[in-house]
Each structure stands twice: as structure tokens, then as C-alpha cells.
Symmetry: C2
Subunit: 306 residues, 2 copies
Amino acid sequence: MLPGVGVFGTGKLLEAVVPHLRSLGFRVVALWGQTLEDAGNVAGSLHIDYFTSRIDDVLLHKDVDLVLVLSPPSLQSQIAVKAMGIGKHVVCDRPAGLCQSELLKMVLAAQYYPSLLSVVGYGLRYLPAVRQLRQAVRDGYVGDVRLVEVRVTCGSLLEGAGYSWLCEPAMGGGLLSLIGSGVVDLVSHVIGQRARRVHGTLRTYTRQTRLIAGIRHVGSDDFCTFQMEMDGGALVTVSLNAHLSGLQQEVVVCGDWGHLTDGQYVAAVLEAVRVSAATQAWTQVNIRSRMLETNYLGMALKAADA
Amino acid sequence: MLPGVGVFGTGKLLEAVVPHLRSLGFRVVALWGQTLEDAGNVAGSLHIDYFTSRIDDVLLHKDVDLVLVLSPPSLQSQIAVKAMGIGKHVVCDRPAGLCQSELLKMVLAAQYYPSLLSVVGYGLRYLPAVRQLRQAVRDGYVGDVRLVEVRVTCGSLLEGAGYSWLCEPAMGGGLLSLIGSGVVDLVSHVIGQRARRVHGTLRTYTRQTRLIAGIRHVGSDDFCTFQMEMDGGALVTVSLNAHLSGLQQEVVVCGDWGHLTDGQYVAAVLEAVRVSAATQAWTQVNIRSRMLETNYLGMALKAADA
């Protein structure tokens, strides 16, 4: 039987996640929100019977066997560690915690009960375009990977919102934390190499908005660029820019045999251009974040069921 | 009367430059090539009466009043300095020399005879899209400039060529020298700020090609990324990648009021999107290098005539 699900968080993501979970046959039995009012509102609109603002009430709920941690990053680690300590499966959103020590605690907790499902939801991995990209790199289409260029442009992450943890880097806000963490995982996942040396620059240009114009101001980064030297010799350069509009991601992988980008696979050595139906899909991978998140959750949950 | 022109160099650029000069009413009277054979071939096909492989023969030619330096970068500084020393106008291709000391000599020579025309041909400035971009930035369309992202992708600069100065960074080869120098100028030109601190990474991945497969190998960079902190507070991030195909340049300028990119001017503060016919032209500025070079030469020469 599928496990009962307890959800931590009240973000917009839930509007997509909860119906998707139900369509997969899961029962969503409990919801946690930072305030009882938040929790009540979301539980009401999503028809979840039980809601609370106390973490333990969800964790100890007798019908909750799987915990979805979609709370602010500063709470994720403690919730996940506690849940695993009392024998519940955990799927946690990225970033999994605020710092290495928090993540380490989660890894240790996950190792203690190997039979428990413990997944950090790096959803980009499950985008069809990324899976094809990874397969093509593994099949040797580009040869040895030399360069990866990733560029993500979006509008302000604070659009239309008041002051919250998103404004505070120490609470997990900012481009590097929220998007960069996924990109780092994406690159390692696609090319199978891990970072050895890193250099980067963060900038916070928008310190006040219409809705955040009091004493407090925004401290989290709205521009980020970094380079990673990978252990297999590849160089990765990433640029994240929240000063544009829309949401667009482009990943270019160059190897000694050719490159994968914008729907074309060019084998420079073979001096032939082959465009297959499969590679067409790479054209400007547009992330639809909701779709994406539900996808990865769906997959993780299917794994839990198996 | 328009000055007689002496040309240094035998590259493909000449096929565009010489006819353009003539269409503007200039006489091209002398050509220099690294070997007499090269010079003879190009002079023959372009119907230039006098050709030589000795620098002084062109410089001292009685009908040469304006010198176009399109030679390999390692020779440019000495030719330009010598030409200015004997009272000839000079238009020199970028990069103007191999290092700061060479450039300094050129600047000193240019200051010695202020009446002489002395121009380094940063041709990107004269692209219509770049001129519009600059005007819009000056008109305050984006507000204070915070970020500039420049991305140039192209195929190998060594495509179909044997070993030459292009393979050797000490001779002026490589992306940073040939394209980066123009980009640095472009950014300063558009936003009116100069670099204060710089961090960058160069990579040479293609060390041998089909035509360069002997003892010698390529040492010049085929990937380059750098960030510049400008004196007005803007951050510039540049990525030059010669592992793709075609030639494409994209410049994004973000300010506190909005950004200019891909044909759209978004004023975030005004919460209004205005797309004018003029800004449409920014869509993916494609550099057509020949057109471009002839443009800047044409403009420089008109200035010389005035």
C-alpha cells in the first residue's frame, strides 16, 4: 500500500504537488505551515483534513509514513533529520540545508536506516531534455567533455512578495542557493564529473522593492556567476541573472568531438551535421518549474512504492 | 583631396576593404605582404599597382599618406609607430599591439603629431545595434547600469588553416586577444565605465587540428571567460567560446530601471513593457565581420578627409 504523506510547507508549489500525489494514488493526510492561519488556508483549499503549525504533530501523525519537506531551507535539515530518526521516508526540496554541516547531518541520518527512502529533489535531472543530454554525453556523442556553459535568466525571485526568508542569504535565499544548487547538481549529473576548484562572484543589486522599502532590505544575491574546474578536466561556467524577465535556461556541452546545444549536434571532426528528432528537444530548454517539481516528486514516490 | 592609401596585410579582410575604400574615392597605391608571393597574389587580384614585402617601401612611398595596418598583431605596433613618426595617418586593426608597452609607444607617437589621424579600429562600436544600445543607455532607458553580460560563440578561429601566428598567444593569437579586446572596448563604449578589477580564465582545448598535427601545437586560447568590476559599480561578465559553430554575439545590459536585450526593453519599475521598432534591432546582434570592418574603415577615412 502507498504510504500516507505529510507535507511541510505552504508555498504555491503545493497547488501542483498535492493533486499530482493524489493522481498517483497517495493520500495526503497532514499539512504543516509556519502559522496556523497559513496552514489552515492551504489545507482548506487543497482539502487536507489535518493541519498544524507544530512540526512534531505532522512527524508523529500515525498515518504519515512519507514526509515531503517543502518548507523554507532553514527548517529543512532539522525536519528531515527528525523524520528519518523516527523511521519515516523523506523527500526534501533543494537546497537541502543551509550549509555543509546541516547536509552532513541529513546524510548521516539517511545512512542510519538504509531501508528508508531519502531523496533531495534535484528536479532538473528529470527534465526530458536533461535526460536526453545526459544519455547523449554518456553515449560519447561529444567525446570528452571540455566545457559546459549554463545560463539561467529570470525575473526577480521577490516579485510581488514582501520581506521573507527569500531576502536573507543566511536563511537560504538568493539565486546561488535556489537555482545554483540545482545547476551544480545538473552539471555533475550530465557529465559525470565533480567540482574540484570553484571561483565565483555574487551581487545584490536590488536591495529594496516596492513591497520591501522599510528598515529591512534584501541581502540575497540577484546575480551570480561562477566557474568550476571539474575533476575530469572540464571547465564549467555558470551565469544566473534575475534582472531579466521570464524563466529560461540554456545548457551547452562542448567536447572534443562536437557540442550539444540548441537542437544541433555538430561533430566538428566528422565535418557532418546531424540533427535528429531527439536532439531537437534541446532547443532552449524552458523550465516549467511546477511541472518539473511534480515530475521529480512523482518519480521519487513511485520509487518509494516499489 | 583624399589621401593615398598604403595597406599592410594580405588577409581576406582586404577583399572587402579595398573595394570599399575605392567606392569612397580613395586610391589604394601600395600593398605590403609578409612574403613577396603573398603580396603579389593579393595585389594582382585587387589590381593594386605596387606591392612589396618590405615595410619601409610602403611607408616611404611618396603617394601613401594614410596607412592601414591589417598585419599580424606582432607587427602592428612597430608599423604604426614608424608611420606616425614620418607623418602618415594611421588606422590600425585591433588588437593594437601585443602588450601594454607596445600600445603605449603607439599612444606616445600619436600624441607627438596631434594633426595626424590615429585610430584603432574597434569596429564593434559602429554596428547599428551597438550604436542604438549606447544611445539608449545614455538616454537613461535602463537607469544606472548594474550588469552587462556578453556572450560570443563561434567556430574555431583556426578552421582550415595551417600553423600561423593565430596559434601562438605571444603573437596575438587567441580569443581574448582577437575578440575579447573588441568586447572590452564595446562594453566601455556602451556604458561609459572602465574596468577596475578583472578576473578571468583562459583555456586551450584544441591543441592539434587536422592541419596542425606535427611537432608544433596550438597554444592560443579557444575558450575565455572573464568578469570585470567597472569604476561606476557595474559588473561585466563575458564568455567567449570557439567550440560552437557560426558566429553569434549577444549583449545584455541590465540597469535598475530595466534591461536591454533580445529586442525588448523591460522597465521593471514602471511595470510596463515597451517594444519600439528601434529596440527590435537588438535581437541577437549578428556580427558580419566584413561589413563591419569596412564600416569602421569607411568612417575613419571620412574623418581623415574632413
